[in-house]
């Protein structure tokens, strides 16, 4: 048996022309499996809005964002989750959005649950990928909730971020909209260390 591995194919920029025709209503709504489906009954539905900005805080038009998260109980419908059979059948955990001329995006989702992991107890979080013209590699970050200070303090991934930077990964409560709690999470792709969003590589 050969142990030789294939090298992964190189990443490239998604470019400025990722088709609008790929998007349908509901792609940025994680609470529904499809646009026409009834929303999941598990967990607290929320709105997540933010802006994607580059150097000098210039808004980024047509950046593609993808969200991935656990269900309300911290489970994934995936073979690597030992409790996948208990995962919310009405929740895919994935959504995609694009930014408008002001750099704004929006997701509708639910507050995820935390879960135990080999690396430690994960706090509730949403992983976000940003892709766009000028970004040759997708930028990956992770958003946490101010609702869970104890869980956040114990999260093994958040602990990798320098303490002074961790606050930038917390969503900011911003009242209510459309009957839901609204959180804001701006993503600063480039800026000085005080303002640039921390990004991860795996």
């Amino acid at each position: 048996m050969s142990n030789s591995l294939l090298a992964p194919t190189s990443q490239h920029t998604i470019g400025p022309f990722f088709p609008r025709t790929f998007f349908q209503p509901g792609d940025n709504d994680l609470t529904r499996v499809t646009h026409g489906a009834a929303p999941t009954q598990r967990g607290e539905a929320i709105l997540l809005r933010g802006r994607v900005l580059r150097a000098e805080a210039v808004p980024c038009l047509n950046q593609i964002l993808e969200a991935w998260q656990a269900d309300s109980a911290g489970r994934f419908n995936h073979p690597l989750d030992p409790e996948a059979h208990l995962a919310d059948p009405d929740f895919l955990g994935w959504g995609r959005a694009w930014t408008d001329a002001e750099g704004c995006y929006e997701f509708r989702t639910i507050i995820p649950g935390g879960y135990p992991d080999a690396a430690g107890q994960r706090a509730p979080h949403i992983n976000l990928s940003v892709m766009g013209a000028g970004l040759m590699r997708r930028a990956q970050t992770s958003m946490f909730f101010p609702d869970f200070p104890a869980e956040n303090a114990a999260d093994p991934i958040l602990a990798l971020v320098p303490a002074a930077q961790r606050g930038k990964l917390l969503a900011v409560p911003d009242g209510r909209a459309e009957g839901l709690r609204l959180f804001r999470f701006d993503i600063r792709l480039q800026g000085d260390v005080a303002v640039e969003t921390p990004f991860f590589e795996d």
Partner: protein, 238 residues
């Protein structure tokens, strides 16, 4: 899909495979690229998992870009592109979502941001989405895209290329890439392709031409395999 079918082991990117950024002559890379080094994190469950039922949200099956509706053919050289989505152990990734988009034969995208003075083709939108089969195969019928100039101060021409977006069973294996055509003189001048430091890695982005004897005389034929990050810790039994 079972646990033995999904990758659970992820090595860092090999040297020279990731693009070197920012790219001289591609100004946006100087203002979009994060200035701080990315923080290396272990793959917890969120990173190792991904959407396995995504076709429920993203409709798949649109594999013919060359014929908008019966009898309405796009202008350009008809071409068939096919290949396999593999993991790093060479195992097929079945059920992966493959999105393809591209410029038309005149090098213009059907996209509101592309306002270049080149004609749109009323019979060409230029995007499709399919799921790979049990052997990890994908295939599209399309037309060969044209080259186009990049509107920056010191312009350069993008060689004909296809854009691929692949969503497999792991967030870590998410891939957005581009595919090029062998022998195009613009390849050597492309700032995006040549941002990949390793020659062999660049060559892996170039599709293989198939001879007419293999594909027939109605269209050009190309094959192109795409390798996603990750593999299963337990090797496949032969």
């Amino acid at each position: 899909m079972t646990a033995s079918e999904v990758p659970d082991r992820f090595e860092p990117w090999p040297p020279g495979v990731e693009p070197a950024v920012p790219i001289p002559g591609y100004p946006n890379t100087f203002t979009f690229t994060p200035s701080q080094p990315a923080i290396r994190r272990p793959a917890t469950r969120t990173e190792a998992t991904g959407p396995v039922d995504l076709h429920r949200k993203l409709p798949c099956g649109d594999a013919n870009l060359a014929e908008l509706s019966p009898g309405k053919f796009a202008i350009g050289q008809l071409m068939h592109i096919a290949g396999r989505i593999l993991d790093e152990a060479g195992r097929p990734v079945r059920g992966a979502i493959v999105e393809l988009w591209q410029a038309n034969a005149a090098g213009r995208y059907f996209h509101p941001i592309d306002q270049r003075a080149a004609p749109l083709d009323p019979n060409f939108i230029g995007n499709g989405r399919i799921r790979t089969d049990a052997e990890g195969r994908y295939a599209f019928m399309t037309i060969k895209p044209g080259a186009y100039p990049v509107p920056v101060k010191e312009t350069w021409w993008r060689p004909p290329h296809l854009h691929f977006s692949v969503i497999g069973p792991s967030s870590l294996s998410r891939l957005v890439t581009q595919m090029y055509f062998a022998g195009d003189p613009l390849n050597a001048l492309d700032r995006i392709l040549n941002s990949i430091p390793d020659l062999a890695a660049r060559q892996r982005l170039i599709a293989r031409d198939l001879p007419p004897a293999e594909v027939g005389d109605e269209w050009l034929g190309f094959t192109h395999d795409i390798v996603l990050r990750g593999r299963h810790a337990t090797p496949m039994t032969p």
